[in-house]
Symmetry: C2
Subunit: 404 residues, 2 copies
């Protein structure tokens, strides 16, 4: 008699962004005239850069000719992509990462969700609160979190590390020692960043306690200020305690193309076993590589022309971020983020809960955002807006909010 | 202190195709003059069909323009693809499957590897022996198989169902009742098929015992004879006990493009829980959809023009299969498969083990195949050749083997 994985039944509610999407759809159905502006799900709106498009066309043509057709990709990614990533994203920043330590994938969400598989199910995880839901939910499914406590809005066996305005949305070390520590900077959802000395102290902590840091750097391309680390591998000792996730989704608008990568240094060992080898085995067994044409698109992001075009896109979104940040401030909101990250994190007015503010904004201003409480109990009374809309829509959304 | 998932350490040897690849590379390095013909890994060689290429170009252009750019795909796949799949692959064959029951993914390997996650870790799996390694290995990683017994070349808690020449490579019902039953027809690696009455009896068995059948139909496009089921949903009652996996890799040469899908009927419930809802939750949490441009490529496979071109490709490969089958027979080999499947399964001569024959063929004929024992103990003394080479290489390979 087959049995289900009952851990799935412990999941509290639906996946956040599915619920947000459903609520918007339902509102649209009952209000067909309303022109809803979506600043909710972190999806981009700018088209793919021309040099990336050229590269895609070239690769498509290659797939159509016998002499240049490519079948299965190498398990861990094509060398042409792994080499340029290692050089441009790591070696040129002084990080000692080799191409062989890069695992190309179809996106950081999959990697962040799957990485827990290589660890024991009795490991205890620590997450920031609020936090991107995938880290927690994927561990719920694996049975690592215990049951959900409705009153506390927490899973019993997860260490939640409060990220508040007071600590600048960078957590303090928890009382209980975690085995796995999820950190994400620039942060989703708060838009906060971590200074290098703060990140170094987390690396030192992990080394001292035998913990592994799972570092999500999906938004590093949005860092505009100096002295903010782009990679955890800028810190001493990180090669012995950290795994890093990167994405092309936000860097180059690849949300619909799907490309990301994970960096696992060969020095990272747990119980004498190389995590690199475990992850390589997982890739080989359960994954068949990112499409060749998409890997060529990723390569084009690093070309001189591609880089220029991408920087323009990022500047465009960060112009939106500035507009949202200042517009909300003017309207009397308490606002965070938006300087080194494409997310603006605002405190809800009049003691509204996050979902109350979601409904209020959707019905009164026809603007959709993401309720902070969807990211954990520490996100209650907060709300996330993203800078990924078009400039025009962003301006209209903020003007509507200002008129409320 | 972080701990690893020790189930990974139970994995016997490397992933089969990684080992095959490494052995070929090593041989090539020491014999740079040798022109090795690869009929091993089931990778295709024909370029992508022209109508699919056109569709890719159109979709790439859409991604380059603001008005037609697409970001995140719907979690379960675009409607345009799910609808055409439901109609052409199922409804037109008399199977009652709706678009909503199709989950689009980046390939059947990922889906076959990940599906076990939604089941309890104490479920007992049954697999054919020999078998595609992903079914077993993904269950080893999840802790469902127990330890590997070197002497038996088996995992202790897995039910191996012998598939032999005597039973036409279709297993009998096992003594112990399995919770999850993996079946794959047309079969990889044996090239065998299952008749509809045989498959119906497996469906009846699963219904009677509360088991779930995980049916891998990745090779259904190669079926040339009548009365061979293309889908398990041609059988009565399958909607209550079966999940089906399909792939564009072999149907349309998408090994390097990555597209597949899984069918979970909404009637399929285990312990009162819909497996559809569990898999939907997994998709929403750990996956971000197949690339838009690849889903458009998949759609083109079902167009009138696309279909014609794809059928030509399949006929080409099946011409290879026929050549291999007859060529080996002439040379005195005992050969199976190759009629409704792109795989030829041969008995090794002179009592050679599968790996001995692999080395022999590689060094003496410079032909690479796949050792049968890599697919399980029942594959010992067998060897798999694939029909996915070019016609020219296939002919040369067989001529070389005939000269041995």
């Amino acid at each position: 008699m087959a049995k289900i994985n009952e851990n799935y039944l412990k999941l509290a509610g639906n996946y956040l962004f599915s619920t947000v999407g459903r609520k918007i759809r339902e509102y649209q159905e009952t209000h067909p005239q309303a022109e809803v502006i979506r600043l909710g799900i972190g999806d981009v709106t700018q088209p793919i850069a021309p040099s990336v498009i050229n590269s895609l066309h070239t690769a498509v043509d290659e797939m159509g000719k016998a002499e240049t057709f490519r079948g299965y990709a190498p398990d861990l990614g094509y060398d042409f992509l792994r080499e340029v990533i290692a050089r441009k994203d790591y070696q040129e920043r002084g990080c000692s990462i080799s191409p062989d330590e890069i695992f190309v994938s179809d996106g950081a969400k999959c990697d962040c969700g799957n990485i827990q598989e290589i660890f024991s199910t009795d490991n205890v995880i620590a997450v920031c609160d609020p936090v991107y839901p995938v880290y927690v939910d994927s561990n719920v499914m694996a049975g690592r979190t215990g049951v959900y406590d409705e009153s506390l809005q927490c899973y019993r066996n997860v260490i939640y590390m409060p990220c508040t305005a007071e600590n600048g949305f960078v957590p303090e070390f928890p009382e209980q020692t975690p085995d796995l520590i999820y950190l994400c900077y620039p942060n989703n959802p708060t838009g906060a960043v971590i200074r290098k000395d703060q990140l170094q102290s987390w690396v030192d902590y992990a080394l001292a306690h035998g913990s592994v840091i799972l570092y999500d750097a999906a938004y590093e391309a949005y860092i505009s200020e100096p002295d903010i680390p782009h990679s955890i591998f800028e810190c001493r000792g990180a090669r012995e305690c950290a795994i890093e996730f990167r994405s092309f989704s936000k860097t180059a608008g690849f949300t619909g193309l799907r490309l990301g990568f994970t960096v696992i240094p060969k020095d990272l060992k747990v119980m004498g076993t190389s995590l690199w080898s475990l992850w390589a085995r997982r890739h080989g067994t359960k994954y068949n590589g990112a499409p060749y044409i998409i890997q060529r698109a990723g390569e084009a992001v690093y070309s001189e022309e591609g880089r220029k075009q991408i920087l323009q896109q990022i500047a465009y979104y960060m112009g939106n971020a500035k507009y949202i940040y200042e517009g909300l401030k003017e309207a009397g909101y308490t606002v965070y983020g938006g300087v080194n990250a494409p997310y603006i994190w605002l405190h809800t007015p009049k003691d509204m809960t996050s979902w109350e503010f979601f409904d209020y904004l959707l019905s009164e201003a026809n603007v959709a955002g993401t309720p902070g409480s969807g990211f954990g109990p520490g996100g209650e009374h907060y709300f996330r807006l993203t800078a990924f809309g078009s400039r025009e829509n962003t301006i209209r959304a903020i003007k509507r909010i200002q008129k409320l």
